[in-house]
């Protein structure tokens, strides 16, 4: 049954929203962002910062947009004099005890206190400089979280996250009145596997990530939509880069996957994207040594090796590479009897108790499902055995490789592991931050990620490499883009039929087939 729709106006703009919608959410539909601090769509409503006060016709007092439900015919004015005066008053009060240390604050540039003050606050305070400001020393809350109480506006988002979402209520509001601060249980640490979200939730620079501390100014960062590679959940993330270095990972909201959150494992899982010891050129074996060469030479060599494969090919792949690459790698063996397998590193599962279906998954790979849908198996040990007698063994970015084979080893990867030094050909590829592609998460959801920085040296996206190899084998023109590579996949594999990059957007779509992992 469709939800009952309510019609109301926000600053004169009519909107129709489902019954029960909060005014603050209805306003978004009218293109109006009502300034707010304590409200967050992923947390229970607290209604305490009083920043989102708006005028509602016929109501005797100003109403908080975050706790007021829409009603038929309601007329909301967010920009009336009374509403603006009230919000200006709140902003002034939020700043009287604030240290105004924006120049040394990590939040500066992405601070809602700065933004709304700039937007509609007073240009100067009336708080006498003679009055001392509230002072409390910085506290070490947990492995990655610092609390700077002087900047705190007591919105309690962090308290509510730990209590209602993480279900580990270690934070509280301690003391009363203007002496209040965020307290932590005397015997607890803020070390829940999802605790890092409090840093994102904090609208000011009060909760800081030690990992990001003084690393970059917010305005220096470029943000790129990506997918976390930390496990098979497929959380939507943004990669923040500064001068082509990934410096931070933050959640990107996707109500179907990770809502507004990511776990700390995923949050910290980015340093490898900046590794300096990358393979920067194709390498070919001459005698006992690998020598750098150009792509044409390398591709021709691999094509020669593949042409004589017959029924004896084995592909050992990583479940951290794109669906496009996995598909095009498989296509190289079209018509042959081949074995493809992957292995997945396992870890501990860490659910976010308050969000059903959201967890750091034991399977620490983003694309195991994609590999399965494309015919790669989990029999890694058997595949290793098969590799011993194979004519060609293709290894795709699997660092933990120790292949013994009488055939030729082709290594396609980002870095050169010890086990790949015997390879006949080594082809350098881009990592997840350096290419466009898709992963299929554990629930069969196909999700796109985008390129955040250039690949080093001559490295190329794996889909492009396999596409070129396919062309060299006479399988037609190479794909020019990841979207084109995906389109070929969608035409050829049932599970992906009907999907395309445009359709996937940045929220993803379920694949047609959902096989239990």
């Amino acid at each position: 049954m469709p939800d009952e729709l309510i019609t109301l106006t926000i600053d004169g703009v009519p909107v129709r929203v489902p019954k029960g919608t909060l005014v603050i959410e209805a306003a978004k539909q009218a293109g109006v962002l009502v300034p707010h601090y304590c409200y967050h769509p992923g947390l229970p409503v607290a209604g305490l910062c009083r920043m989102c006060l708006v005028e509602v016709e016929k109501a005797p007092k100003l109403q908080i947009a975050c706790a007021t439900q829409v009603a038929e015919g309601m007329a909301v004015h967010t920009q009336s004099t009374a509403a603006k005066d009230a919000r200006r008053g709140v902003l002034e009060l939020l700043l009287i005890n604030h240290p105004l240390d924006c120049p040394i604050c990590d939040q500066a540039g992405e601070c809602e206190l700065q933004d709304f003050t700039f937007q509609e606050g007073r240009s100067a305070t009336r708080y006498s400089p003679d009055y001392p400001k509230r002072f409390n020393p910085v506290e070490d809350f947990g492995p990655d979280v610092l609390y700077v109480p002087n900047r705190c506006i007591l919105c309690t988002r962090c308290v509510r996250f730990m209590e209602d979402v993480a279900k580990e209520p270690v934070l509280n509001v301690s003391e009363r009145g203007d002496r209040a601060y965020i307290g932590i249980h005397s015997e607890a640490r803020l070390d829940h596997p999802w605790a890092g979200n409090v840093v994102d939730l904090c609208p000011v620079g009060s909760l800081l990530s030690k990992d990001f501390l003084h690393k970059a100014r917010a305005w220096e960062l470029d943000k790129t939509a990506s997918i976390c590679t930390g496990c098979s959940q497929g959380c939507n993330i943004a990669l923040d880069t500064r001068e082509n270095v990934v410096v931070r990972v933050r959640p990107r909201s996707n109500l179907d996957v990770n809502r507004y959150f990511i776990c700390d494992h995923g949050r910290m899982n980015y340093r490898w994207m900046n590794r300096g010891d990358r393979i920067e050129a194709p390498l070919v074996r001459r005698g006992s040594e690998l020598h750098a060469t150009d792509w044409d030479d390398a591709v021709a060599r691999v094509a020669t090796l593949l042409r004589g494969v017959g029924p004896r090919a084995v592909a050992l792949v990583s479940a951290k590479v794109s669906t496009e690459a996995l598909f095009l790698a498989r296509e190289l063996f079209r018509g042959h009897d081949w074995t493809g397998a992957f292995q997945v590193v396992m870890g501990e599962e860490a659910p976010l108790a308050g969000v059903p279906g959201l967890a750091l998954r034991a399977e620490r790979a983003p694309n195991a499902k994609g590999a399965e849908l494309l015919g790669y198996g989990r029999g890694y040990g058997a595949a290793l055995q098969a590799a011993e007698r194979a004519a060609v063994v293709l290894v795709l970015d699997e660092p933990d490789v120790a292949v013994r084979s009488e055939g030729a080893l082709i290594y396609v990867g980002t870095v050169l592991p010890e086990g790949a030094r015997d390879a006949a050909v080594v082809l350098p590829i881009a990592n997840v931050a350096e290419e466009d592609g898709t992963f299929v998460n554990r629930d069969g959801r196909v999700q796109r990620y985008s390129q955040a920085k250039p690949a080093p040296g001559m490295a190329r996206p794996a889909w492009s490499v396999f596409s070129e190899l396919g062309a060299a084998l006479g399988h037609g023109e190479p794909a020019a883009t990841a979207a084109e590579a995906f389109a070929r996949l969608a035409r050829s594999v049932d599970a992906f039929r009907g999907l395309g990059y445009e359709k996937l957007g940045f929220g993803g779509r379920p694949a047609a087939v959902t096989v239990a992992v």
């Binding site: 009083r50 100003l62 009230a86 008053g89 009287i96 009145g177």
Partner: protein, 426 residues
């Protein structure tokens, strides 16, 4: 600690009739005085009928807001689908108010009886009486009375529990009180949902003040018409009310008068007037949260819900604070503001920061370092602190500031201009 005064002839003693009688505190003594008969009849009466009777009586909440009690009860679901709760607000913390304390000290069974009747009326099986933590003697009296009454099995199926507060003024706010009973920090909740829909433990709940409930047995015994007849003024302000008078009067204490009694007579007759050689300057008529009345307003004010509003203040809890001409109003207002700054729960920005800032400005004025602009700032802050927060604590801080500056501006100006010796506040 004995009860200080015999009733004045102009008092109408209903609730306070047995104040001072040690025997009335025991179950036997209470029954001897006619106690628990109203409850017995009530338990045999349809809840809806009880609600109608209380509605008819015109009884309004004595905690401060003056909401019609019968109407409040009628908000509870008629058809009971989930457990219902009754909370009794005995967290009397409003500066200048000490009436509930005396009810519990002297007539604990009156409260228990009223509580059980109310619980029956709203179909609650459990009632919590939330008693201010500092009330050691009332606590002991209530505990003893409850033990006796339980043993006498007078409550039918109703369970009554005492719950002790831990020293927060804000826990007298009804939703904060519920949070406190639930074991949470005593923060007021946003409304809606209102307690009758989702209150204590998320279930339908009614919260009533001690004095309100203590009046209920009398209404049932003597009839709604009798209670309604106890009024000298407005038909919407009925019955008797206990006024806790303190300050510069000769005989401070609790005085029970019918609604509509002149404040002037309360001060000059019942309380014996001002200290010798002193004159009335100002009065806070309804506990520290309401606007201050000047002398003319005080002397022309009728003590009922409408009468006090007509003079620009509120009846509130009935805590009457009387000031004579020796009072430093700036200092008094600072003390009130400091109280609210200390007690703010810290949720709403206007209250958390506004009460503290207000206090700082007042302290600075007292120290002789204020400016005339500070007065405008105080008024502007007060405007920002009124009607914009979850509960009314911040409004309560603003009320005396606004009325104080309006009515006693010259005292502020004297400090600012250096005409008055600075007071340095510790």
């Amino acid at each position: 600690m004995g009860y200080p005064h015999k009733p004045h002839s102009r008092e109408t003693v209903v609730l306070s009739k047995h104040f001072g009688e040690a025997d009335a505190r025991s179950y036997k003594g209470w029954v001897k005085r006619g106690g628990y008969r109203a409850l017995e009849r009530a338990l045999a009466t349809e809840p809806a009928k009880l609600i109608d009777t209380v509605k008819e009586s015109g009884l309004r909440g004595r905690g401060g807001a003056g909401f019609p009690t019968g109407l409040k009860w009628s908000f509870m679901p008629r058809e009971k689908k989930k457990p219902h709760y009754l909370c009794v607000n005995a967290d009397e913390s409003e500066p200048g108010t000490f009436k509930d304390r005396e009810i519990m000290r002297w007539t604990p069974h009156a409260l228990l009886e009223g509580t059980a009747i109310a619980a029956h009326a709203i179909q609650a099986e459990v009632a919590y009486i939330y008693i201010r933590g500092e009330f050691t003697e009332p606590w002991a009296a209530m505990e003893k009375a409850l033990t006796e009454a339980r043993a006498a099995k007078v409550f039918g199926g109703i369970q009554i529990y005492l719950h002790r507060g831990a020293g927060a003024y804000i826990c007298g706010e009804e939703t904060a009180l519920m949070n406190s009973i639930e074991g949470k920090r005593g923060n007021p909740r946003i409304k809606p949902p209102f307690p009758a829909a989702a209150g204590l433990f998320g279930l339908p709940t009614t919260i009533n003040n001690v004095e309100t409930l203590a009046a209920v047995p009398h209404i049932l015994t003597n009839g709604a018409a009798w209670y309604k007849g106890l009024s000298l003024s407005s038909p919407t302000s009925t019955g008797t009310k206990l006024f806790s008078v303190c300050g510069h009067v000769q005989q401070p204490g609790n005085y029970e008068v019918t609604m509509g009694f002149p404040l002037k007579d309360l001060v000059y007759e019942l309380c014996g007037g001002m200290r010798p050689g002193h004159t009335l300057k100002a009065c806070i008529p309804g506990g520290s949260s309401v606007p201050i009345l000047d002398r003319a307003e005080t002397e022309s004010c009728l003590l009922d819900y409408e009468g006090v509003v007509e003079r620009g203040s509120m009846l509130g809890s009935g805590g009457v604070i009387v000031f004579d001409e020796s009072t430093d109003m700036v200092y008094q207002i600072m003390r009130l503001a400091r109280f609210y700054a200390h007690e703010s729960c810290a949720q709403c920005t206007q209250c958390r920061e506004g009460t503290a800032w207000t206090t700082k400005i007042l302290e600075r004025i007292l120290a002789g370092q204020g400016t005339l602009a500070d007065l405008d700032l105080l008024l502007d802050l007060a405007e920002n602190m009124t009607g914009k927060t979850i509960c009314v604590l911040s409004d309560s801080c603003a009320a005396p500031v606004v009325s104080g500056i309006k009515k006693f501006k010259s005292e502020f100006e004297d400090y600012i201009a250096g005409r008055r010796k600075p007071v340095v506040v510790a």
